[in-house]
Amino acid sequence: MLLAPFLSPQPMHIPDGFLSPLVSIILWVFSILVIAYSLKRVNEDLGERQVPLMGVLAAAIFAGQMLNFTVAGGTSGHLMGAAIATILLGPWAAILMMTTVVGVQALIFQDGGLLALGANIFNMGVIGVATSYFVYRSIRRIAGEKSWGVFLGGFLAAWISIVVAALAVALQLALSRTSPANIAIPAMAGIHALIGVGEGLITIGALALIYAARPDLLRSSKQGVTGGNALWVGGLAIALALAIASPLASSHPDGLEWVAEQQGFLNTARGPLYQIIPDYVFPGISNQVAATILAGVFGTLIVFGVALAVAYSRRKRRLGEVRQTQ
């Protein structure tokens, strides 16, 4: 039963409320820095065709995430798309496309939170792209212009993008003390090692079609598709860091707990600031239960007041309309 949440179709999109403010904000900062750098690189490398290409392809990734295939027992597999985006347009454009996809999902469809959006962009965009770039690039280098490099590279890049993003989600939940590390990390890693296989197979299918129809899009020397050695090393570093940190954190949850407590310490450190405010909300009531009840009554009164006011003004408006039509 504890595994149930990790089996849901899109456990990757963290909603609001699950990450501590500190974790959310740090990941926002990371994501913003990477997005800013990607914008700079895309401007330099891809030229003026970039906007329509990235916009329409981002829409296609969003739509492509709906394409599913039956696995078993009512479950189905579908695409996240970070790897195929990286393979088609290179890592910098892929980061921007995943940012728009994840951004629209949060802003419009509430798939993932708004404060948590920085984390979601980081997981699915930044590290998903960086690690799949590292894997794909390495294998293409070994394979040269041979076609197996495209397919093996695509499969492994897709697999690792899913697993790495899932591990990052688990670590972030654990750091926020929302889900214990020794449950979240093995559960997310185990399930997503399988989901990643589905992502890998779909990616192979997509690459097979594109390779047959437009091999020029997959030529390894294609301009703009290279991210440079720095990103290659970055992808390697992220993959290694998560590979080492995750088993460590799940077998020694105390370590992560310690980090989380440092955050908690930061929270309590703010405490003295509040000491100046007297120890009660409303004068004369120092009891928490009473405060809760009072808040309940106060809240209910506001809600009812507003409801009445809205109903009244609506009626007045309708009466006005009736009078006008008469």
Binding site: A208, L209, Y211, A212, A213, R214
Partner: protein, 236 residues
């Protein structure tokens, strides 16, 4: 002896509330070739999508002797070959072979039989040389033929086509018409191409605003200019 298609009092509304079908009844005999005409938004495509259970309206639909209900959908989809307007939606594999083989593979046929079915279907549409070609590179006319082959490989009893001649140049259109003429199978075709309707389809059904407004011999209905004009159609 059963009708190939029996529709009784079919109603359907889209989730946004738009009522697309308002009590449609239609019977088609085995091996009959029927044209479905009418303006855009008349409900032709919506009606067609009920014939293999993609959409589910209120009313009764029986296809190839089977009621269109959840338990029968697999069998019905094997018996109804549906060719969509845009062939790109139907061709999503690297090669022509893979696309035409989809239906037989899905049904679980052994490899050798799949191959025979594919070759036979491609021969019917005169595209035998295209086995290993890349679908994406074909012309619209060629894609249409392959799309028809992708359903013929399932050995369907009924062929349903949505706008088969839309977007074709005259030569491709002519050869597609020849292909349809030679297929000996129950056929329901929705089209704006009145010339083709007159040439190929002895029976014509006119739809407008979610209803069937006329159903009869094509010769007769085509002669009634007032009827055609009333429903946004033109005499060819």
């Amino acid at each position: 002896m059963h009708h190939s298609i029996e529709i009784e009092q079919l109603y359907y509304s889209y989730p946004d509330g738009h009522q697309a079908l308002r009590g449609v009844s239609l019977h088609v005999e085995p091996c009959e070739k029927v044209a479905l005409v009418g303006p855009n938004g008349a409900g032709k495509s919506t009606l067609i999508l009920h014939l293999n259970g993609i959409l589910n309206g209120r009313g009764q639909v029986r296809v190839a002797g089977l009621p269109v209900v959840k338990e029968n959908l697999g069998k019905i989809r094997a018996r109804v070959g549906m060719v969509f307007q845009n062939p790109d939606d139907q061709l999503f594999s690297p090669t022509v072979y893979d696309d035409v083989a989809f239906g037989p593979i899905y049904q679980g046929l052994p490899q050798e039989e799949v191959r025979q079915r594919v070759e036979k279907a491609l021969a019917v549409v005169n595209m035998s040389d295209y086995l290993q070609r890349v679908s994406h590179h074909l012309s619209v006319g060629e894609k249409k033929r392959i799309a028809i082959a992708t359903v013929l490989s399932m050995d369907p009893e009924i062929l349903i086509l949505d706008e088969p001649t839309a977007g074709l140049d005259p030569r491709a259109r002519r050869s597609l018409m020849k292909l349809l003429e030679n297929l000996d199978i129950t056929m329901l075709v929705s089209s704006h191409d009145m010339l083709m309707v007159r040439e190929l389809f002895p029976r014509m059904v006119i739809m407008d605003d979610g209803c069937i407004v006329a159903d009869g011999p094509t010769q007769e209905l085509m002669a009634d200019e007032a009827l055609l004009n009333a429903h946004g159609l033109e005499k060819p």
